[in-house]
């Protein structure tokens, strides 16, 4: 693959443009992007984690959630130094697993699936900037049409948010790239 080529364009200046929290000088700007469907029980772990980080109100930290990743998330991703994708997992280690991500463009057979690696690739290709990125996969257990996390998932969420908070603090203690 050829190296990323940043493209200079005029972004539409309309409402709701990119979301970037201002960070103290020299501190990393951190994005926490939780995704999943809170209406499907433990699938809401990602949004729940993002909501908890948002309530901390930390300077330089942006947190929001969505049902699933979308290509325009690349705009926000490219605007931060460190990005945490937070999702529920149906399999894998409890209470959570952290994986460092690399950009990897993919093509699925449906638009209903966009992977975080593809978002990173899009950010890199389009903006010439790929932040350091991690996937925090919090183990869930049940995915029925219920808008409440299972007790096990709630326990996992608590531990996952604790480690996420620590990692954000750690990133912000380092000089911004």
């Amino acid at each position: 693959m050829s190296p990323p080529r940043p493209i200079s364009i005029a972004e539409p200046a309309g409402v709701g443009s990119r979301r970037v929290a201002s960070a103290p000088s020299g501190r990393a700007r951190v994005l926490v992007l939780g995704y999943g469907n809170p209406g499907r029980q433990d699938d809401g772990l990602g949004p729940a984690a993002a909501a908890r980080i948002e309530t901390l109100g930390w300077s330089g930290v942006t947190a929001y959630d969505n049902y699933q990743l979308n290509i325009e998330d690349a705009v926000d991703v490219a605007s931060h130094d460190v990005v945490w994708f937070v999702d529920a997992s149906r399999a894998g280690p409890s209470p959570y697993a952290v994986t460092e991500l690399s950009s990897a463009p993919t093509l699925e057979f449906t638009s209903h699936l966009v992977r975080p690696e593809a978002i990173l690739a899009l950010a890199g290709q389009y903006y010439g900037r790929t932040p350091k990125a991690f996937l925090l996969a919090i183990r869930g257990y049940r995915f029925e049409f219920v808008e409440v996390l299972t007790p096990g998932a709630r326990d996992n969420l608590k531990l996952a948010v604790a480690v996420l908070s620590d990692r954000i603090r750690q990133a912000q203690s380092e000089v911004s790239p």
């Binding site: 999943g36 469907n37 999702d87 209903h112 699936l113």
Partner: protein
């Protein structure tokens, strides 16, 4: 990563993409004793529990709750449920401000969703070629060759999201609609911000159309024949059979363009469309009642929206429609890849409608809700990005939902997707080998419809693409897994 497993048993092909969304699909290709493709089926595990989940909820909650159905189309479900609950609330006509706010949101939704499909999902196949290496055949590969496509992809979609945020109060989980009206009008600040950008969006949609036409010009035969077949079509249309995506009457036409039914009010859909359950699929198979089970299937979505309408009442989209319909030499366009061209025309139409609405002072009106005398039942239909979407609810005297029936676009296209996969298998399967090329072509056919795989849940999990070869007796010959 792909893995091929070959056994020496009888012959059958199964493609089983278990995506990280809960609903998963599987393609089965059955060979006959002569080793020829006999039949193909695209299975989708559609989660039906949602209809039960709605039961017992208060009717006025439903427009918000149904957004849980889909991560790509929450707005479409929000609007369709609201229209159905208008009926339940005894409201046949909402105020001009409410109607136009909903329309603005809807056309923003269709614009951004179609942009996602075309630029992110379809353009790698079309602009880089079906046979391009997987490592290159993606949106990043497209941007390397066509940098402007990345700009269109992100910002047309982002503009649509901004329309949703401006009308719904927020980009995610918007709450514009309530039975009988809307919660808010459009602020002047939001209106002016959107006005600033809409001209650019229309221009980019037009440029995307020109790029796509260049592809079609260079691949006339492939475009006309790939995964294609004559079919019936169904869509909403407006007055004089104009294109209408938000509110109209159902129209169905046969492969020759002759009406099967028209002017059908949503409440009467069961007189014309019947749903069938088949043992081998979790999906329902709707078909046109008068044509019966075997012949009553049809297609919905952008291709159907263009084929079913007589004209489009916005100038740029109408000019594009005429050029597109010329492919049919006076008849309909049946090309499955024509979905993509039609999708861009619909994007242009949406952008033009949005532009018109942004200069309509009714959007700043303050008459937002009307009330009526409660009714026990409500049915509504809209044209969602992937086609006709129907919500049908029954409600008891206490306002609790007692029944729900949803027919989503992907369900309407169920049989059509089977036939497209069958056509691809017939054209590209060679011998007993499940090639990467066969997989690619099947995926290209499915992408034209962009099925919604019950994306109500997203937990990380397995998402392989599994292909199995099976013979006429059902024995498996080979399996291929694409991670």
């Amino acid at each position: 990563m792909s893995e091929v497993q070959v056994s020496l048993g009888p012959r059958k092909i199964v493609i089983d993409p278990v995506t990280r969304v809960e609903g998963h699909g599987k393609v089965t290709i059955r060979l006959n004793d002569a080793g020829e493709v006999e039949q193909a089926r695209f299975h989708i595990v559609e989660f039906r529990g949602f209809e039960r989940f709605i039961q017992g909820r208060m009717y006025w909650e439903v427009p918000v709750i149904v957004q849980r159905l889909c991560g790509i189309c929450p707005v479409s479900h929000h609007l369709c449920a609201a229209k159905a609950m208008d009926i339940v609330a005894g409201v046949d006509q909402v105020t001009p401000t409410a109607d136009k706010m909903r329309r603005l949101m809807h056309y923003g939704q269709v614009l951004q969703s179609n942009a996602l499909n075309f630029f992110h999902l379809a353009s790698p196949d079309l602009l880089l070629g079906f046979e391009a290496p997987v490592s290159k055949r993606n949106i990043v590969g497209v941007i390397e060759t066509f940098p402007e496509v990345g700009k269109w992809a992100i910002f047309i979609r982002k503009f649509g999201q901004q329309v949703i945020a401006a009308t719904g109060g927020r980009r995610i989980h918007p709450r514009l609609c309530i039975p009988g009206g809307v919660n808010q009008n459009l602020s002047v600040e939001h209106r002016d911000a959107l006005r600033n950008d809409i001209g650019q969006i229309i221009q980019w949609c037009g440029e995307a159309l020109e790029l796509h036409k260049g592809y079609v010009d260079a691949h006339r035969e492939l475009h006309a024949t790939f995964a294609s077949f004559p079919s019936s079509y169904m869509s909403l249309v407006g007055a004089d059979d104009r294109m209408e995506l938000y509110d109209g009457a159902l129209r169905a036409i046969d492969a020759g363009g002759e009406p099967i039914f028209e002017g059908v009010h949503p409440a009467d859909y069961r007189d014309h469309v019947i749903e069938e359950v088949r043992s081998w699929s979790y999906m329902k198979f709707p078909h046109i009642r008068s044509l019966g089970r075997e012949d009553g299937w049809y297609r919905v979505g952008p291709l159907a929206q263009i084929n079913c309408c007589a004209f489009i009442d916005t100038p740029l989209a109408e000019a594009a429609r005429k050029e597109f319909m010329a492919l049919g030499h006076g008849g309909l366009v049946h090309a499955t890849l024509g979905y993509h061209w039609a999708r861009i025309i619909t994007m242009i139409h949406c952008a033009e409608v949005i532009q018109g609405l942004l200069f309509d002072d009714d959007l700043q009106g303050t008459d937002l809700v009307v009330a009526g005398r409660r009714r026990p039942e409500g049915v509504a239909i809209i044209e969602a990005p992937r086609g006709t979407l129907l919500h049908h609810y029954t409600v008891d005297d206490d306002g609790q939902v007692t029944g729900a029936n949803l027919i989503v676009s992907t369900t309407n296209n169920n049989e059509a997707m089977n036939r497209s996969v069958t056509k691809v298998a017939m054209d590209y399967l060679s011998g007993r080998e499940i090639t990467e090329g066969l997989l690619n072509h099947i995926e290209v056919a499915i992408r034209a419809y962009d099925p919604c795989l019950s994306c109500a849940t997203h937990a990380l999990g397995d998402m392989p693409l599994i292909v199995t070869l099976e013979d006429a007796q059902g024995g498996i010959v080979a399996t291929r897994v694409k991670e």
